[in-house]
Symmetry: D2
Subunit: 100 residues, 4 copies
């Protein structure tokens, strides 16, 4: 099981994740959170397809929603009852895709 | 522009839509709402792919969210400021897919 | 029904389509043909998802194949028994996606 | 590396895979082969989405093509220079999806 990260670990990982990102991830309701604005619905759903494949491959899935060109992602690790390294790993992969 | 339906029209359309459905659509926050429980994440995302294609084809997109095998769909017509026949048309198409 | 284009029309449309493209579309076996090399399988399938949505929306579908990061697309209009403007329209949309 | 199966092993695995399948997989050009006829393009692409996720998760990808509602899948293991257990594993997963 992935350990729940303590606040100081979250801060370090968040700083590292957000380094060189135009738009940062934030912590909202104790989840790793970011809203992506894509060009249109097709690009938004294509982005979601990449994220879905990454997620299933890592066996770690997002809580996410979509309205037209906006994709909102919240990451938490249910079995750890908080944010774990799995969430930062998935966020890192999401950022490495060619965007949306 | 699709006209916003009045309450009595929504009731008639909802009865028709829900006819023979195991689990009904409901009206939540003035939106046409249903939660789909699929077998697993892969089936949930495959279901979302079908809905995404239908939606883009109809140029009418859902407000939706996904957590693992659950897909929650809310339909409203923004330019009509309420539920229109477009929402019932999309819900009907969603139900006609082979499910999730 | 979309008319089958004659050779001189195909040449004009092809020149226009390929203008400013790094890699051109060609005519192979009387079909509009191009091979796309994406970064990896996930990017290839994400690209295919965009093309699939465009295709269904236009009600005009590609003949295509995929091996890992390669997507090969052949466009023809069956009911016209050759290449029509529908094929050039779909190729144009494919090129306008953010690539693969 | 997955070992290339010898003919007698392929026969045994193929019999097991095809058991209770309405339409069998066959060996074509030394690849594990099957053509799936789905209801329409949307169902075909939705089926491909499930297969794509399975494939990436197993890090073993199909050679496949699609024309409208037909999806043709050929499985081989390039690094083994033939059919390996990876191909039978992927075929088994493909059959376990809710079909197309």
């Amino acid at each position: 099981m992935a350990d729940k990260l303590i606040d100081s670990e979250i801060t370090i990982n968040l700083t590292s994740l957000n380094h060189q990102l135009e738009k940062p991830w934030t912590i909202v309701n104790e989840k790793l959170h970011k809203e992506f604005i894509c060009g249109d619905f097709i690009n938004a759903f294509s982005f979601m397809t990449r994220v879905a494949i990454y997620a299933e491959k890592a066996n770690h899935h997002p809580e996410w929603s979509n309205i037209y060109k906006t994709v909102t992602i919240d990451l938490t690790t249910h079995e750890s009852n908080g944010i774990s390294h799995k969430d930062f790993d998935l966020a890192t992969k999401i950022e490495k895709t060619s965007g949306c």
